[in-house]
Amino acid sequence: MSDGWLVLLQQAFSLLLSFDPHVWAIINISFSVSFAALLITIIPSIILGFILAFSHFRGRWIVTNLVQTLQSIPTVVIGLLVYLLLTRNGALGDLKWLFTQKGMILGQMLICAPVLIALSQAAFSSVDRRAWETSRTLGASWLRAVWTLCRELRVPLLLAIIAGFSRILTEVGCSMMVGGNIMNVTRNIPTAIALETSKGDFAQAIALGLVLLILALVLNFILGSLRGKAVPRSH
């Protein structure tokens, strides 16, 4: 590693450890927006995933394919859609959410939901049907039986949540278009990295990149420890 890189890394760490207000404001916005989007999406998406796995309504195949397709739509396209909705003449223009955190949350919800729905559907499809039947026959309500299945599937469901969260925390396109990258308002980690890199301020970009890297490590350790505790079932 050259000296230049070492200096940049040193600067990046000092920005983080000295609690640079600009850097930590960006981190704060990034996490609060993404957590809000995740929290709003999580329960309806898991329930929808359960319905798609367990029910056999007409059109289920189309909905499943639609959800899977939505997973692979570029975030910038979702950003464009949300922008058109929130722009002054758009369907939701009266909300005045464009270039606000609320607008960013809406965009991230649309990005997160298909990932959560598709992965939770896959998890519920793999569950032993006797778990559902046992819960119901012992008198559990529909909601408690769903909760029981979620408990049984906590590792794959946590994996789905982490996948959804990673996707929204690291996406640039939608945040840039809907948020507008306004300092202390809508500038989050990915948009800040893009901006600082274009300006040549690599130290801040690296500092923010390090935050994402540490987060990825922490999430993987959590998942790894849960996987380690999960015992293969014998029936």
Binding site: T134, R136, T137, L138, A140, T148, R151, V231, R233
Partner: protein, 249 residues
């Protein structure tokens, strides 16, 4: 069919009228009228794939019939949001019971969350269930560590704790050693003494069938009911005759 005096003495019952089940466009079985009441102990017999488990799931409200009606009588009315009125009333136990991820105690007390019991009643019921299933030493063990016989005992104790009026046991003693069989038999006998209606499916005639006083037989897609429970010899004789001459329609 149920005895008339049973219906009077034990008002809780499930009745199936003109039911028919189709599976992949093929008829699995049909029945004009079936009645399963509290106090009944019914031995259900049928070949592999004849639909024994399906019939039990049907009566437990876990599955709907292709045609016909299943009605419950005498149960406490459920809130309006509980659309499936049979669920939780008649408990169905799988041939290979499903135990939830967690400890033996968690599994044992699972059904108690749905019951409004005082903490005293709750404790009493748990200790009775532990005593009956002889799982005292395993209470804090992970459920997946249990042997086949212990799993079955835990599943029956878990169902017992829910105080079902009607219980359906799908092959409860298959693939078990003699000791586990006798423990499970004792538990089933206890349930019978408590007045729980039992519907028991089994391939073999054994101590289990000796407890029964009604007989349902799924044969050639039809459910035949009788008050006469065949003995070991009668079943063997019937099987041998079928092997020699085949079945007749």
């Amino acid at each position: 069919m149920s005895l008339a005096n049973n219906t009077v003495k034990y008002p809780v019952s499930i009745e199936a009228k003109d039911v028919m089940i189709k599976f992949n466009q093929k008829m699995l079985f049909c029945a004009d009228r079936l009645s399963f009441s509290q106090g009944d102990v019914i031995y259900l017999q049928g070949d592999n794939g004849s639909g024994k488990s399906t019939l039990m799931k049907l009566l437990a409200g876990l599955q709907s019939p292709t045609k016909g009606q299943i009605e419950s009588h005498g149960f406490v009315s459920t809130p309006w949001w509980r659309t499936q009125s049979l669920l939780g009333k008649a408990v169905y136990l799988h041939q290979h019971p499903y135990l939830f991820e967690g400890s033996v105690k968690y599994n044992l007390t699972y059904a108690l969350a749905q019951r409004s019991l005082s903490s005293e009643q709750r404790k009493k019921r748990i200790s009775q269930a532990i005593h009956m299933s002889q799982l005292t030493d395993l209470l804090n063990h992970h459920a997946s560590d249990l042997s086949g016989g212990e799993r079955q005992r835990l599943a029956i104790a878990r169902a017992w704790i829910a105080q079902p009026k009607l219980l359906m046991l799908d092959e409860p003693i298959s693939n078990m050693d003699k000791h586990s069989q006798s423990l499970v038999l004792a538990m089933i006998n206890q349930l019978k003494q408590d007045g729980t209606g039992l519907l028991i499916s089994s391939h073999q005639t054994c101590g289990l069938t000796a407890l029964c006083h009604q007989y349902w037989h799924i044969k050639q897609h039809t459910i035949h009911t009788s008050m006469h429970v065949p003995t070991v010899e009668e079943v063997h004789q019937a099987n041998t005759t079928e092997l020699h001459y085949g079945t007749t329609n």
